[in-house]
């Protein structure tokens, strides 16, 4: 089973990202589960979301404490919370950050300027699908085709098209 933890801020679409990832993996033929950290946080507050992906039905129902992957939608969060909490030896972390992440940690960290892509291609700082594109290439956990399909289903029309393009761009950078 693969466990993914998302860190973001309320309103940034972390929960949607966790669900899109689950739905895309489902299209790839996997069993999936995704859920938010159940809180009362409002726009701007740090939030978490979780996705589990497996080849067999997923029966466990508690939060993810030792993630295989951590996706950080906003590098500013790193000053506020420990996004590396529960990281295992082989845990990989992907951070949306303008410059290369320079912190000293024991796990591999991949940096992507998702905000740059978002501002460039979407005209607003919405990075949740973009970071998934990068994640798809880096980890091969989910296929880019399924991901694009789900993004278009989730955001119908032009918004979906633009998001899909931006996600593909990030995929190519992975």
């Amino acid at each position: 089973m693969i466990e993914i933890r998302f860190h973001g801020r309320g309103g940034q679409g972390s929960v949607t990202a966790a669900e899109i990832l689950a739905k895309a993996a489902f299209k790839d033929g996997k069993y999936v589960q995704a859920f938010p950290f159940f809180g009362v946080e409002r726009r701007g507050a740090p939030v978490m979301a979780f996705t589990r992906i497996d080849d067999k039905p997923i029966d466990i129902r508690y939060q993810i404490y030792t993630p295989d992957y951590v996706l950080v939608l906003d590098d500013g969060l790193m000053n506020v919370i420990d996004v590396f909490s529960g990281a295992k030896e082989n845990t990989e972390v992907i951070i949306n950050i303008a410059e290369e992440f320079k912190g000293k940690v024991d796990v591999p960290v991949h940096s992507i300027d998702a905000t740059g892509i978002a501002l460039d291609m979407l005209g607003r700082n919405i990075v949740n699908t973009i970071i998934l594109g990068y994640f798809a290439k880096k980890t091969q956990v989910v296929s880019i085709d399924s991901l694009i399909e789900v993004i278009k289903e989730t955001f119908p029309g032009k918004v979906g098209e633009l998001n899909a393009e931006a996600t593909k761009k990030a995929y190519e950078m992975g």
Partner: protein, 381 residues
């Protein structure tokens, strides 16, 4: 048939759509709210031909539900926690008036202190109301049980309302794959509601919701007891019919590896998923352990439980609720009706995460008991 990834709330809404209720009075409350939103959208898009009554409170939601059901149509509503508390008075009226309403309760803790997270105190607080209560473990079971609930409640041997209890957030806000049955098959399974005991037709006037004095009240309540007893069989029949039609099997209780178990976990709702995994893990270590998932809490399936636990040594009863001064509700019922060495564990109140470690603690404390009722994960003062 299609399979989609969705929350249990969406699954319930899809089930409701398939069951074609004609009146849906509902009021939003976390974590039920998205059910009311999906249903509003279905009505707005004419996917269901129903009156969606945008009531001003849960008390009015249940009141309108009873009015509509009393008038002879199929009715669905949903709520959670404080909403169910506000409905409490009319919850009893709904059962007494024998309205086969189906309500989905997104299980959530009760104030005070205010807490929006999951436990099952809200529905447990309604257990003496005369409603059937079925606790579900996942989104698929939420969908399937909602469909079955209408059929069970509308059965003439029952005619009591049903509460489908799904754990708030853990199910209501978690997406997972769900199979949506075909409309035609649901139509075959669940024929239109044809009320004989209560409807409001000027051509055939009847008085509904009357006053019963001491000469009649006792009998009226007794008939509810009989209906509740009947419902045991009706639930089993309905589950069987459902399995034949849709291929998914459910019962009053669902046992897992109980045949040779020394210790059996007894629990309700979503925690059963994690428990099943823990049963496998413990068995891998040579521990003879099983899981008894109680789906039907009211009626309380004494015989079904007895049959499954008859050879085990001990029961570890897990409650996400507390009856202060005695223990968890499921535990006290088990103690009263099942003659086994049973230990009660209060877990997960107010959304406290139930981890594998907490379950191992339950197991350990059943194996080597110190006291009858233990609160798991309690922080030191």
């Amino acid at each position: 048939m299609k399979k989609e990834v969705m929350t249990a709330n969406k699954a319930v809404a899809e089930a409701v759509k398939l069951c074609k209720p004609q009146v849906i009075p509902v009021y939003p409350i976390t974590p039920q709210t998205t059910i009311s939103e999906y249903l509003a959208q279905f009505v707005a898009d004419e996917e269901i031909d129903a009156k969606y009554v945008k009531v001003e409170s849960e008390h009015s939601a249940m009141s309108a539900a009873v009015g509509a059901s009393g008038a002879g149509v199929r009715v669905f509503t949903a709520t959670s926690s404080q909403g169910l508390m506000l409905m409490h008075e009319i919850i009893f009226a709904a059962a007494g008036m024998r309205t086969p309403i189906v309500l989905a309760d997104a299980n959530r803790a009760i104030s005070s202190p205010l807490n929006i997270w999951n436990d099952q105190q809200d529905s447990i607080a309604q257990r003496d109301s005369g409603w059937l209560q079925i606790y579900v473990e996942n989104a698929q079971e939420a969908l399937d049980t909602t469909i079955m609930a209408f059929k069970i409640s509308e059965n003439e041997k029952v005619l009591l309302p049903s509460m489908v209890c799904l754990d708030g957030f853990i199910l209501t806000h978690t997406v997972e794959p769900v199979e949506i049955p075909e409309q035609s098959k649901v139509d075959e399974f669940l024929p239109p509601y044809n009320p004989k005991h209560s409807y409001l037709d000027p051509n055939e006037p009847m008085s509904v919701g009357t006053l019963a004095d001491p000469d009649y009240y006792l009998e009226a309540r007794h008939s509810m007891q009989v209906a509740m007893e009947n419902s045991l069989e009706v639930i089993e029949e309905t589950c069987k019919e459902f399995a034949e039609k849709f291929g998914r099997e459910y019962g009053l209780v669902d046992p897992y590896k109980c045949e040779d178990a020394d210790i059996i976990f007894v629990a309700m709702g979503s925690v059963c998923s994690t428990l099943r995994v823990m049963v496998d893990e413990l068995r891998a270590k040579g521990e003879k352990v099983g899981l008894l998932k109680v789906r039907a809490y009211r009626p309380f399936p004494v015989k079904a439980i007895d049959e499954i636990v008859k050879n085990c040594e001990k029961l570890a009863v897990i409650d996400k609720n507390v009856t202060f001064g005695i223990g968890g509700a499921l535990f006290t019922d088990i103690k009263a009706k099942i003659h086994k060495d049973a230990y009660g564990f209060i877990v997960g109140l107010g959304g406290r995460d139930i981890t594998p470690e907490s379950i191992l603690e339950v197991y350990e404390k059943t194996k080597n008991p110190e006291k009858e009722v233990t609160w798991i994960g309690l922080k030191e003062e």
